[in-house]
Symmetry: C2
Subunit: 122 residues, 2 copies
Amino acid sequence: MSYDVYDSECPARAVLDHVGDKWALLVLHRLSQGSTRFNALRRDIPGLSQKVMSQVLKRLERDGLINRQAFPTVPVTVEYSLTGLGECLTANVGPLLRWAEANMEQIKAAQSAYDARVVEAA
Amino acid sequence: MSYDVYDSECPARAVLDHVGDKWALLVLHRLSQGSTRFNALRRDIPGLSQKVMSQVLKRLERDGLINRQAFPTVPVTVEYSLTGLGECLTANVGPLLRWAEANMEQIKAAQSAYDARVVEAA
């Protein structure tokens, strides 16, 4: 069966919703550097609440992109890592993050120019 | 100045929000095939309302990723195209869309397995 993201019924669109999420991109890219515990992920990605982090991790696990492994320590230790599928996706995520960082000056200049035009026209 | 998307104050995070949006990815990729009118874009991307399409296009224009050109026809014709910056970004978007399409079978299988485990555990 073949999929086309330009078909409104295509299930790949839901996956784009999950992986197109800013937080998911940050989590996937962080995990591409090695498996990580929940608390370490939270520390590495400031601005993300515990609740949202849990939701993001559940979605990515359900999509088969990350593994969740619980160790019987007290308290329980949970570690997340990329699956093979997740690694294959993440190879496409790094360039997007690098691009956003590398082009921020140009984007900020474009935003200022746009806002000035909008004020002028108002 | 350098940017780090893992810094919660980094403005690149807002840009990831815009370009990480599923609809923005679909619009950018469509425009990478050539400049397009508003109505043609809507036709090519079914499932996207006129209102949301307008919002997506405004955000992308403000970020300097697409150009909006109005022609003095009756009624006015508006054409959208990628800027140089948008073209550079879009080179990173295509692989992500192709990836989602190519791996849907594996993702659907993972989702079924996850849902079965969750039902079992409940």
